[in-house]
């Protein structure tokens, strides 16, 4: 009965804890206008790390904007957790919509949730700017307030294929996806573009978090490809790269913006050397600001910025900029902000933001990076490299 007693005793402790944490909140009501920016993405569940990366980027941007002193209003952050699942997305979206102070939403982070939530946002006239939902058809469905602040899979997949075929002249490619929305979408485009160019393509799927990548690596090697495209995130690309090296893979290895992250090198060690990574981002022109961002981020969160952190940071700053303009003109209405964002021209750390009339990202340039030693080095835009 010892343990039951303990549990009984634990309850006053828990109550005490709640009382203590309860005292923490409740310091609102300072003067001036308050605008809220919501983020819809996976803040719990299986994909929480990606959501965390984005949330950190957003919160950092908001904090810096509030601290900068050139806003005569205050920006607040509202999390709307959809766990990365389509069926949780409408409720999450509703949470942002119900809060009348929310003037714009960053997200939905994933394409599936975006597909269910965008309609709800449209009906509410609330701007939903996604920095990471890359499935091409999202902007063709007539969602009125959905803006995609990232090039879609089509451009990146095509860019990968173009570089492999035109520059490296490969003849056989294995395309591996990670069985996520993102990986499959990208791999589909890459596969199609490669096939159109007359390249022999073998398509394989290795679900995320596979317990052992050795078999997957063997499967790649046994096809004797000239090149490999891995469409997925660095968490899985890391061990996969290791196993590929062990299996004796000696072709060109290429991956996407989900892998284009310093942590890929940390996970894969020297097996990552030579990997080509595409990304719709460029840091060549903004090196100073990017370094500052990375330093600020690391200082605040005690870890390096991850996939989509800088993108979310950019999108947040872009939205804040527009809010500022509207605020000066009189007031910020949801619909007005949607219209303003549609016509935006904003230069951020990662890229220049502007949208076409469907809310699609206009700048579809893809850039190439390569892992050399323990850093990811910028090579140039795919179009320039192919020449």
């Amino acid at each position: 009965m010892l343990n039951k007693t303990i549990v009984k005793l634990a309850i006053p402790m828990a109550v005490g804890a709640l009382a203590l944490t309860g005292c923490g909140g409740g310091d609102s009501g300072s003067g001036g206008d308050v605008y809220k920016i919501a983020f819809q993405g996976p803040l719990s569940g299986d994909n929480v790390q990606l959501g965390q990366n984005m949330e950190n980027g957003i919160q950092l941007a908001i904090e810096q904007a509030n601290a900068s002193g050139d806003l005569d209003f205050k920006i607040e952050y509202v999390p709307a957790d959809d766990q990365g699942l389509p069926d949780k997305a409408t409720a999450a979206a509703q949470k942002a919509i119900d809060d009348t102070d929310v003037v714009a939403v960053i997200g939905p982070a994933f394409s599936g949730p975006a597909d269910t939530a965008a309609e709800v946002y449209g009906a509410a006239g609330l701007a939903a700017v996604s920095a990471s939902a890359t499935r091409p058809d999202l902007t063709t469905k007539g969602y009125e307030t959905f803006l995609r602040a990232v090039p879609n899979d089509s451009s990146q997949g095509a860019g990968m294929a173009k570089y492999l075929t035109s520059k490296l002249k490969v003849e056989k490619v294995v395309v591996v996806d990670d069985k996520t929305d993102y990986g499959i979408g990208l791999a589909d485009v890459a596969e199609k573009s490669l096939k159109d160019a007359g390249v022999d393509v073998v398509r394989q799927s290795v679900p995320q978090k596979t317990p052992d990548y050795s078999a997957a690596a063997k499967n790649v090697v046994k096809n004797k490809p000239d090149a490999l495209i891995y469409a997925g995130y660095y968490q899985d690309a890391g061990p996969f790269a290791k196993k590929l090296k062990e299996a004796g893979f000696d072709g060109v290895a290429m991956s996407d913006d989900g892998t284009n992250d310093q942590q890929f090198i940390e996970l894969a060690g020297d097996a990552s050397d030579g990997w080509l990574l595409t990304c719709a981002c460029t840091d060549a022109t903004q090196e100073e600001a990017t370094k500052k961002f990375a330093a600020d981020y690391e200082k605040k969160y005690k870890q390096a910025p991850g996939t989509y952190s800088p993108e979310s940071f950019d999108v947040t700053n872009m939205i804040i900029e527009e809010i500022k303009k509207l605020h000066e003109e009189g007031g910020v209405e949801r619909q007005a902000l949607v219209d303003a964002l549609r016509g935006v021209k904003y230069k951020g750390l990662t890229k220049e933001f502007s949208f076409d009339d469907k809310g699609e990202f206009t700048n579809q340039t893809v850039y190439l990076y390569q892992v050399k030693g323990d850093s990811i080095e910028y090579q140039g835009s795919v179009d320039d490299l192919v020449g």
Partner: protein
């Protein structure tokens, strides 16, 4: 509650031994005394609480959270509380229990009155039930839209699912760890018959017309799965149903030419067109809610009839002692299959309703974790008791959503897990257990229960 009184079996065992050996066995070191053990356990609990409420760790510096937690003020705070609780418990127990008794006494008066009125007054019961139903139907109109969405997308759907699973586990006593597979089959049936999948159906149907078809599909799937595996014992059945779920889930994910895989399916929403009357369900969650309430009430009505019919009694017999049931002429295989299929058909309805509400779904909505969670909802609420499982589902689906406001959303399931453990230690019969189930558990605790699939482990009593 001291060690001695709480474990009569142990003390009686000690007494039955030879005195010298018993004396040797009974020799306890000072730290083995209950009082000090309780202190040790409380301190361990304090450390756990410190970690639970402490710093968020990072992969960049693996030791960060541990270092901060063990050097920060949180640890001292928790240890202080633990020692305080211990002191009150050990040295001021008379006063503390006096206060507890007083609270209990004052509270029990009105409670008893209510309970008596409930038991004796039939019109009061009917009145309260009607009022409850009215509240369930119209109450949510007053909620925020966000909670309406949660209510429909998650709570109402899961309530329907747990009602179905209750038939399988609570009534027939079959441990089913793959229940969500049938939910998936229902949802994909809806997608297929409304023409949303890459493979086209012979005729495209309205969502409402799909429901009977989905029910039939799930019935067939239930029978197909059930027939070969129902001769397995409880735990083997559990893993096979789990395997079945995994196979269905992976088929949905991998057979892209049929199911679109993780790209997901976009399904039409509910609509009625009778010529003279037509209505389309759109973004507003409430109309879906009323449809779901309708399904739930219908299912409840049918199941309650079943529970008190010959079938229900057969299930009870199977659950309590399968061998005895078979010996007295109950066709166990037939009734087990029936439970399986009926449970499955309910989740078929849920699947169609779900697909028609969210409008878009992919295989990740039917992950294995959900099968496990649904099971937890049923047991938490009280197996075999309809109000219990409804409460269990509603509460445990609501809780993580509400926890979002109080704790870091990433930690929600940590608290949910802790709650499940504490709850099962305290109230293994669930929050609102059925009378029969409660009695079975009491008998088991006294050591006279049988050992069916969900029953007590054989001979665990010391």
């Amino acid at each position: 509650m001291s060690m001695k009184t709480s474990t009569p079996a142990e003390s009686s065992r000690n007494e039955s031994m030879a005195p010298s050996a018993a004396a040797r066995l009974r020799k306890v070191h000072w730290y083995q005394e209950p009082r000090w053990r309780r202190l040790g356990a409380l301190l361990a609990l304090a450390v756990t609480f410190t970690l639970m409420t402490g710093e968020e760790g990072t992969t960049r510096d693996l030791f960060l959270a541990l270092r901060e937690d063990f050097t920060g003020p949180g640890l001292w705070l928790w240890v202080g509380i633990a020692v305080l609780v211990w002191v009150v418990r050990e040295f001021l127990s008379d006063q503390a229990s006096g206060a507890a008794k007083w609270t209990k006494r004052t509270a029990s008066g009105p409670f008893a009155a209510v309970r008596e009125a409930w038991g004796s007054n039939a019109s009061l019961r009917v009145g309260v039930l009607l009022a409850g139903l009215a509240l369930a139907v119209f109450g949510p109109l007053g909620l925020e839209r966000y909670w309406q969405q949660v209510l429909v997308d998650q709570i109402a759907i899961f309530v329907l699912l747990t009602i179905g699973l209750n038939v399988v586990i609570g009534w027939a006593g079959l441990l089913d760890l793959g229940f969500i597979a049938f939910f998936a089959i229902g949802a994909y049936s809806a997608a297929y018959w409304t023409g949303a999948l890459p493979v086209q159906p012979p005729v495209v149907l309205n969502n409402f017309l799909v429901i009977p078809i989905a029910v039939a599909t799930c019935l067939v799937a239930g029978v197909l799965l059930g027939a070969p595996v129902l001769r397995l014992r409880g735990d083997y059945l559990a893993i096979v149903t789990l395997g079945f779920h995994e196979i269905v889930y992976l088929m949905a994910k991998n057979a892209e030419s049929v199911t679109e895989g993780v790209r997901g399916v976009k399904v039409e929403r509910f609509s009625i067109d009778l010529g003279f009357f037509s209505y389309e369900w759109k973004l507003d969650p409430m109309p879906y809610y009323w449809v779901l309430i309708g399904f739930t009430v219908l299912a409840l009505f049918l199941f309650l009839r079943l529970e008190h019919s010959k079938v229900g009694r057969a299930w009870t017999a199977i659950r309590e002692d399968e061998v005895a049931a078979a010996a007295t002429g109950v066709n166990t295989v037939r009734y087990k299959l029936m439970a399986f299929a009926i449970g499955a058909s309910t989740s078929g309805v849920a699947g169609v309703a779900y697909a028609s509400k969210v409008g878009y779904f992919n295989p990740e909505n039917f992950a294995i974790l959900l099968s496990i969670l649904v099971l937890a909802y049923v047991v938490f609420g009280g197996m075999g008791s309809i109000p219990g499982v409804i409460f269990g589902a509603a509460f445990l689906v609501w809780l993580p959503e509400a926890l979002r406001e109080w704790v870091d959303p990433k930690d929600r399931y940590m608290y949910l897990g802790a709650l499940l453990v504490v709850m099962m230690i305290y109230r293994p019969q669930g929050v609102l257990p059925s009378r029969r189930r409660k009695r079975e558990l009491e008998m088991a605790e006294a050591g006279i229960g049988g050992a069916d699939a969900t029953g007590p482990a054989e001979g665990r009593q010391q």
